[in-house]
Symmetry: C2
Amino acid sequence: MTEPTTLGNELLRSAARLSRWASRHASFDVPFAQARLLALLDELGPSRVSALAAADHSSQPTITTQLQRLEASGWVHRASDPDDARATVISLSEEGHAALESVRRARLAVLSPALDQLDGPALDRVRVAIDVMNELLAAAADAPVPHPTRKDG
Amino acid sequence: MTEPTTLGNELLRSAARLSRWASRHASFDVPFAQARLLALLDELGPSRVSALAAADHSSQPTITTQLQRLEASGWVHRASDPDDARATVISLSEEGHAALESVRRARLAVLSPALDQLDGPALDRVRVAIDVMNELLAAAADAPVPHPTRKDG
DNA sequence: CAATTTACATAGACAACCTATGCATATCAA
DNA sequence: TTGATATGCATAGGTTGTCTATGTAAATTG
């Protein structure tokens, strides 16, 4: 039952469902992908557009579009890179930090009823889950797949 | 450092990133949400539209739209419920099963380079991750949140 | 300095959602 | 039975998220 064959699919399915559930039930005003980008900016600090695209595993135009929305909301600042006039350095504004915090609070509120039922050992298992997914992402970054985004054959 | 305050957010962030990464790198022809719905149908068996919406944590019109796409691809069948003329019973077709299998193979292929590096104990940790997320989803279903989808206040 | 590459923006398309609403059938009450 | 209400699904219309293809300006390179 626990063949490696199904393990990867089960992991992805559970992760997708948890994300889906959280994005459906957590009530906050920041659209999902924009919240993801705010969190990434908070983690990386001021970054170029292309660096954000790479870190987020999305295309550069996608990030450009999202940044326009974040900027329209006043959540990020934009500065040209003194070393390269083509490049733009994006950073979180005060309001962006605040928006990110509100997202985190909302998510926590929605998960709390479930998390609060857990005891110490169960919390350790949650920590394992986080670590495992992060490790897989890191390993995947090291050993990239043959053809990233092809759809036909 | 492992305060419960951040644990939930970290879990959701890692789950979202893993899903994002997989949907970006796994190359198959079935759109992400449609694959999710195929998997759900495979798991639940023939189901009503509203049952699928509830199980997927999405709205009924969303499921209706996705089912129209799945039906256009020949992946599901539609039958009226003999007990209730308003209701429709959806089931996977042969082609739907095949499509789901191809999705699973593609996902596995994209995760394999990372999974193959893991030894037995590491695989056990993956299993823990899956179980933890499933348990949290089940717990969340038991203890629903006050106001599911409100955005203002 | 011309050619190429790099960094980002724009254009256009589709998928994935949502809320509001419509329509048909079921159910319930009188 | 029939009118009111509830339920199950479809439709309408809009926003968000994402992609590929392409354009533009600046950097790099021969």
